[in-house]
């Protein structure tokens, strides 16, 4: 019972209780299945609030650590270890928030195989939380790979016409990167004698720079595919366009963050020298991603594909912030991960809502929706402006902090900040064009009878909108949670930068 008294274990594995319950419900009772799934994920959410209550924001280290020897054989130890710190706590909360929201949002969209859908989502939550909480490289890898499987099913079973192609593409792309990471994990574990992250961090990974660089690259490839960074992003539009709405929300909201989180947790903290060395190339790729994603998004005729490409652009900002290697940049990067989860998650919901009503995502099929669906229009406006980075909303805080970080960065500099700022201008273009095409102009005749949002859709969007304003107007509580851990990490990175110059 010791195991379940830890909020992290409880939160991570409670969804399995829901899975067991759903297995016992006959498949015809779809609403019962949906309620069990939502309530289960809400329980995990409440447990995550309990974790938040227990969390000491001033402590930069790992907290609520649960560490047990998993297996010990042939001179090496593998731990099952979970823990939370300032770098991961917001992502954990984002996951527990978005999971019930996306299950709730799929209430009427998913009618076929509801039982399997609910099970896939709950298992997905186990994998995602495990990734953010794992403190042992082996534990981390198990959760990392495991989380692929439910998403493969979500895209492949409930997706669009090209779903099987997209599902397998998603899986193979991610696997290529992660198996090389597995070898890097093994190599690291063998050479350092442990897979346990706090031990590795305490001792520091002392390896010659070229070996560090290889390990850094093996980890980076896995994470860069997941983020996705340009030019490894080509799985993303396929996966997003084919995935059902709820799947897209989780994919954009949480799964992509597993990549950026991986950079933060492993690359930056384990290989500070290699991080300094590779900061400029990675930042360049990030900026290409920002500009490329924005321009391709602008060119899209499909509403959902447009939103998908904005992810490439936004995640470029996150990567730029992380590899500014200073507290400002890293903190902005983390906050922007949360912002992107909320705003893009909400954008995918907005696409899904109109798709459910019209069965098309062609931007030219809309127009004038503001008059027909005013509540929908209002929510869409807020969400779109937040994604664009309007001051007063959450996106602005994240992007501004990142740009400041890049500007002052010891390794990057003003040139990077200025080119990235161009991305904000481009974002304004594609967002405003999108709003114009969907909401302004003359209404199409066949769209005249569209119903406005129902209470369920309003609830889901309202929750996300609260956070859009909260982070936009009063971001201090969010920064306070992460700052000690961020500063500790940036300190290590700056020491490495100084030592190298």
């Amino acid at each position: 019972m010791d195991f379940l008294m830890n909020p992290l274990n409880l939160m991570t594995f409670f969804p399995l209780v829901g899975v067991a319950a759903i297995l016992l419900i006959p498949r015809e009772r779809k609403d019962a299945i949906r309620w069990v799934a939502v309530i289960t994920s809400l329980v995990s959410f409440f447990v995550s609030l309990w974790m938040l209550a227990l969390f000491h924001a001033k402590n930069p280290g790992f907290q609520m650590v649960y560490d047990r020897l998993w297996l010990q054989a042939g001179g090496f130890e593998i731990h099952y270890a979970l823990g939370v710190d300032g770098l991961s706590i917001l992502l954990v909360l984002l996951t527990t928030l978005l999971t019930p929201i996306s299950i709730f949002s799929a209430w009427t969209a998913i009618e076929d195989r509801v039982k399997e859908f609910a099970i896939a989502f709950l298992i997905m939550e186990v994998g995602m939380l495990g990734v953010f909480l794992a403190l042992d490289l082996f534990t981390f890898f198990v959760f990392w790979e495991f989380s692929l499987v439910p998403m493969y099913f979500i895209i492949g079973i409930w997706g669009g016409p090209r779903r099987t192609y997209s599902a397998i593409k998603f899986m193979l792309y991610t696997m290529v990167g992660s198996v090389l990471m597995l070898l890097a994990i093994l190599w690291l574990g063998l050479s350092q004698g442990t897979f346990y992250l706090p031990d590795l961090l305490a001792k520091g990974v002392h390896l010659p720079l070229h070996l560090q660089a290889w390990l850094f690259l093996a980890f980076a490839l896995a994470f860069a595919i997941k983020v996705p960074m340009w030019p490894l992003h080509s799985w993303l539009p396929d996966a997003h366009v084919e995935a059902p709405t709820a799947g897209s929300v989780i994919l954009a909201g949480v799964l992509l963050k597993m990549g950026t989180y991986g950079f933060l947790r492993f690359n930056l903290s384990l290989f500070p020298e290699a991080s300094v060395k590779f900061a400029v190339p990675i930042a360049v790729l990030a900026i290409i991603g920002i500009l490329y994603g924005a321009m391709v998004a602008y060119a899209q005729k499909d509403f959902k594909k447009l939103v998908a490409y904005t992810s490439v652009s936004h995640l470029g900002f996150v990567m730029l912030g992380l590899f500014a290697l200073n507290p400002m940049g890293i903190a902005g990067g983390i906050l922007q991960m949360i912002n992107h989860g909320i705003s893009t998650g909400a954008l995918f919901l907005i696409v899904g809502i109109i798709y459910e009503r019209t069965h098309t995502r062609d931007l030219s099929a809309f127009g004038g929706l503001w008059k027909i669906m005013p509540i929908y229009g209002a929510f869409s406006l807020v969400v779109a402006l937040s994604s664009m980075g309007l001051p007063g909303l959450n996106g602005f805080i994240g992007e501004f902090t990142i740009l400041m970080g890049a500007f002052q960065s010891p390794v990057l500099g003003p040139a990077f900040a200025i080119s990235a700022a161009l991305g904000i201008v481009l974002a304004a273009v594609y967002i405003l064009v999108m709003l114009q095409k969907v909401f302004l102009g003359p209404a199409k005749e066949k769209n005249l009878g569209l119903p406005d949002l129902n209470w369920r859709e309003i609830t889901v969007l309202a929750v996300l909108t609260v956070f859009i304003f909260w982070i936009g107007l009063h971001p201090a509580p969010f920064f306070n949670l992460m700052m000690p851990a961020v500063e500790k990490m940036a300190h290590g990175l700056q020491a490495a930068a100084l030592a190298m110059h």
Binding site: W70, L71, Q72, A73, G74, G75, F76, R113, E116, F138, F141, V142, F143, E145, F146, L148, V149, Y152, F153, G156, I157, R163, T164, A167, I168, M171, L172, M175, V176, V179, L180, L182, L183, L186, W187, L190
Partner: protein
């Protein structure tokens, strides 16, 4: 020859006696009640399992060092007894359905298991050869068990001819090794090498020929040609047993010979094993991509898995890394056995009369019509592909760890990339089951379903709770 000599072979002797008795008893079992024969076969295997575990590797050497009972042998004997029991479990209903109920099936299976067990204990090249024949001949017969089905007969003939060919290589290898060292015993060969009496060039040549013979048994490329045809032609439950048993036995001999007799030949033989491992992984996985028939797909997949295990075998000459490599191969054999029996059990359930229902396309819609069976198959496919939390993942983790430990980084990279390729064809089965509409039929009796359930649970359970089992494999390392 004293009583204690026989005591070292207690499980094997018991099994052979039991099988011979079963051959006679079977004459009095009426055709309608052949279930008794199956039951008695499982009972015999359970007894053997008990003897092997009770012996616990403590009996030492017997017959002047020709056989040795150690932890290594015990681990494999236990695994082989379990495999035999699963082989019987899968076969019982299938034989009835396909109209080939004959009690000899179980007897021959027991003889084959006895040969495999002897292989695990053999410490002399002659005994390895005897064991090789004892395990192979019943398999040749069983492959043609579906007489008069032509594919079965063709497969049996192919298996027999190529098997005989490989055996000839093996015998010639023994002769050369004997010529180089004046000994056929593993201890004697090692001693001859250590004292410098051995002719190393001749020894390496002999060792290479032994590799060919054993490479045939474990289906390593380029000695794999028989595998897809034989796996396809043989009755499915037999294929499941053959795919595990022959591989376990082959690796048992391979490890004992390489690690104990040839460590000093590392510089000459390790590159050959390295190339075998590389080819086996690449060819096995690429060929599996193209298969439409699930039996052929699983055949190529079994080739690929032999390749992964060879990756760890390459480390045989590295005194520091070898014990962990041996343990990794043993654990992977267990992982492979569990997953393989599960996957084949599903194949047996989906196969209809006259070999219908064997294409991957026939699995369309299984996810809707038989959700539990499809779930189990998904677990097996994930385990084959090495995705956690399954035993296949842990097994690969240990294998590649052994390769890295011995410094074979390049081979490990090829290995993990090959396993990404494998994800494609394993997931294609899953995709077909869940994402294609169809009317998949499946049937199976309670025993078959029990087999599926047990192996699926074991695949996940061993993937999460691995410590005790791996400890057992670690204790089973080889010593002279």
């Amino acid at each position: 020859m004293t009583f204690s000599d026989f005591a070292t072979l207690l499980p094997e002797v018991a099994l052979v006696v039991w099988a011979s008795a079963l051959l006679l008893v079977d004459l009095w079992i009426p055709k309608a009640r052949k279930g008794w024969a199956a039951f008695l076969a499982v009972l015999g295997l359970a007894l053997t399992f008990g003897f092997a575990v009770a012996q616990g590797g403590g009996a030492g050497a017997g017959f002047h060092g020709m056989v040795v009972s150690d932890g290594f042998a015990t681990f494999l004997e236990a695994l082989l007894a379990l495999s035999g029991a699963l082989g019987v479990l899968l076969a019982y209903d299938y034989l009835k359905r396909q109209g080939m109920v004959r009690g000899e099936y179980y007897t021959l299976l027991l003889f084959s298991v006895a040969g495999m067990m002897l292989m695990a204990k053999a410490a002399d090249l002659m005994v390895i050869f005897l064991a090789l024949e004892l395990l192979s001949i019943p398999l040749y017969v069983l492959t043609a068990f579906a007489r008069p089905r032509e594919v079965g007969e063709e497969a049996a003939l192919k298996y027999f001819l190529l098997g005989a060919f490989a055996a000839a290589f093996f015998v010639y290898g023994i002769a050369l090794v004997y010529g180089a060292t004046q000994s056929t015993q593993i201890a004697g060969i090692a001693a001859a090498v250590d004292t410098g009496r051995a002719n190393l060039a001749l020894l390496a040549l002999g060792g290479g020929l032994l590799l060919v013979g054993l490479g045939f048994k474990v289906a390593a490329v380029p000695f794999h040609m028989w595998t897809p045809d034989v796996y396809e032609g043989a009755p499915s439950p037999l294929t499941s047993f053959m795919a595990v048993g022959a591989k376990v036995a082959g690796f048992a001999a391979l490890l004992r010979v390489l690690v104990l007799a040839f460590p000093t030949l590392g510089s000459r033989l390790a590159p050959i094993v390295w190339a075998l491992a590389l080819l086996t992984m690449v060819v096995g996985n690429l060929a599996a991509l193209a298969q439409q028939n699930i039996k052929r797909m699983l055949a190529y997949s079994s080739i690929a898995h032999a390749g992964y295990m060879l990756v760890a075998v390459v480390a045989f000459a590295d005194a520091k890394a070898a014990p962990a490599a041996v343990a990794a191969v043993l654990f992977y054999l267990l992982a492979y056995a569990v997953t393989n029996f599960g996957a084949w059990a599903v194949v047996v359930a989906v196969e209809h009369a006259e070999g219908e229902g064997l294409n991957i396309a026939d699995y369309a819609g299984l996810g809707r019509k038989h959700p539990w069976l499809a779930l189990a198959m998904t677990v097996f496919m994930l385990s084959f592909a090495g995705i956690p939390p399954t035993v296949g993942f842990v097994g690969k983790f240990y294998l590649f760890r052994a390769a890295l430990d011995a410094g074979y980084v390049g081979l490990a990279i090829v290995g993990v990339l090959a396993s990404v390729v494998s994800v494609y064809y394993y997931m294609r089965v899953v995709t077909t089951m869940y994402m294609r509409a169809g009317e998949a039929e499946a049937r199976g009796d309670a025993w078959l379903n029990l087999g599926v359930a047990l192996t699926a649970l074991a695949t996940v359970f061993l993937g999460i709770v691995v410590a005790p089992v791996f400890q057992w494999a670690v204790r089973a390392v080889l010593k002279l």
